[in-house]
Amino acid sequence: MPAVAVDLRGTAGVYWRLMAAGFRRQWHYKLAMFSGLFTNCVFGFVRAAVMVAAIDATGGFGGYDAGSIGAYVWISQGLLGAMQFMSAELELAERVRNGDIAIDFLRPVDVQLGNLAADLGRALCTLIPRGVPSLLVGSLTFGLVLPTSPESYLLGAFSVLLAAALSYLSLFALTMVAFWVVETRGIRSLYQTGGTFLAGLFVPVHIFPDWLRAIAESTPFPSMLQVPVDVLSGRVTGWDAAHLVGTQVFWLLVVGAAGRVLLAAGRRKLEVQGG
């Protein structure tokens, strides 16, 4: 233990390298990322058309206008690849099921943080071929208005990072349930569909009826998409934006702690079984 504590720089180095490895691994899947971008754009076209029509039909549509709804649609489509919403189950789930996770426990890398680092690498990599081109396509077709102040981008980048970490950690916590349940598909599809909806993917949380918005805001989901979109698009600025990012940090700690508790409990169960 003391050795680990002393060699902090070496420990950080391991996670840094895991992140770089995650990035490089994702970089190889170019066709996958292009096809992801294509699909993001098709959904972007359809969503943007519906939203623009809805704005034309109403006076105030959650405070959006044609430019800001464009920013919402195309930023959210661009971020989608980074967030663990639509993905199949984590590779980790199979390791939990077949007991290979026992090997991971023996490694000198924390299971939760190590996997988080690798996934952040993957997430950052998707932003280049999916995030940026999505904004370009959006600005060339339906048009979108982006903020002019640098702090929106700085805080926005931080908010995107927090959202990516939060979305991974919540899927991680969900995956830990596989220690007790063999098939997690039902739970996962509940999480994915309910989660993407409450996160504000198809319809912004701001146009939910009040009761539905109250439900959404009592979950970590808006922190995974609506919040980074709001900060990055400049819809929310200054202290309000800082407050939103604070909410993200809060959920990150809660969901991260839940994942750790489940991981520790699962580890004890695994030892009982002799996995």
Binding site: T39, A49, A53, T58, E183, G194, F202
Partner: protein, 282 residues
């Protein structure tokens, strides 16, 4: 359980001892297998019901704010969503698992299908039959029924015929989209997500009033991937509404033709795909 088994074996000796009986036997065993693990089945059903409810909630939230979108109000949107989603859910029941083709190719499992003396596509279609998807169809059916009750529809034999024809053809159409997607997946193993844009994207577009789209998208959804025929045109006809300019009302009866076109496309893509397929050498 025993009762099912007896009935199943009783039927096998019946007149269906034809070339279809292997498929029927596989389907029956799939259904039995899914019902055996009760808890897993229940969570699957709950998950699938949620998918249906959430998809409806997306449409509902927009109409709740906008009141009228693309000439349709909330009640009309119920019809639109019910028609398109019922057909999509039914098509998914039969064809949705073709999505898994890339992993079959990657793992070399597809070779097994090629070894059997039956058409690969038919085997794939019957290789999985997820009862959970009935939950999604049920949600759509409830929405559609609500729409049929709440709207002022001029009921006649032709209205009923239009409804039946539309649901049937639209199911076939969406099924064709899944087959077309599968055909492309022989080329796109890594990029299989691309085909989601015309299966799931098509279904998403079909549940929106097509009139809100700019011209290129309208052409896409009326002609190339003609999902407008699955719900939008029939909804206009059921409500006796005139469509957008340039789109005559008899288009509502066009769903079978649209389905035929999609299947022509799907057949071609599937043939090209299977010809291109070279085993992983497993």
């Amino acid at each position: 359980m025993v009762e099912t088994a007896v009935r199943a074996s009783g039927r096998r000796t019946g007149p269906s001892g034809s070339r279809w009986s292997p498929y029927a036997a596989v389907l029956r065993s799939r259904i039995r297998a899914q019902r055996t693990y009760r808890l897993s089945f229940a969570s699957d059903l709950l998950g699938a019901t949620m998918v249906g409810l959430v998809e409806f909630a997306e449409v509902w939230v927009v109409f709740n704010q906008a009141k009228v979108l693309g000439g349709l109000d909330m009640d009309a949107a119920l019809l639109l969503f019910g028609l398109s989603n019922l057909a999509f859910a039914l098509a998914q029941l039969g064809f949705g698992h073709l999505d898994k083709l890339p992993s079959l190719i990657r793992l070399g499992t597809l070779d097994v299908y090629h070894l059997r003396p039956q058409p690969v596509l038919l085997q794939l279609i019957t290789s999985d039959f997820s009862l959970r998807r009935l939950a999604r169809a049920t949600v759509a059916l409830v929405v559609l029924t609500t729409g049929l009750v709440r709207n002022d529809i001029d009921w006649s034999a032709s209205t009923v015929a239009l409804l039946a024809l539309t649901v049937l053809s639209a199911t076939v159409l969406f099924g064709g989209l899944f087959v077309a997607a599968a055909g492309c997946q022989f080329f796109l193993i890594d990029g299989a997500e691309l085909t989601n844009s015309f299966t799931y994207g098509g279904s998403f577009a079909a549940s929106q009033p097509i009139s809100v789209f700019p011209t290129p998208l309208r052409l896409l959804f009326c002609i190339a991937i003609p999902v407008a025929f699955t719900a939008y045109f029939p909804t206009l006809a059921l409500l006796g509404m005139p469509g957008p300019a340039g789109l005559p009302s008899w288009l509502a009866w066009g769903a079978p033709l649209a389905a035929l076109w999609v299947w022509a496309l799907a057949g071609a893509l599937w043939r090209i795909g299977t010809r291109h397929y070279q085993s992983g050498g497993g």
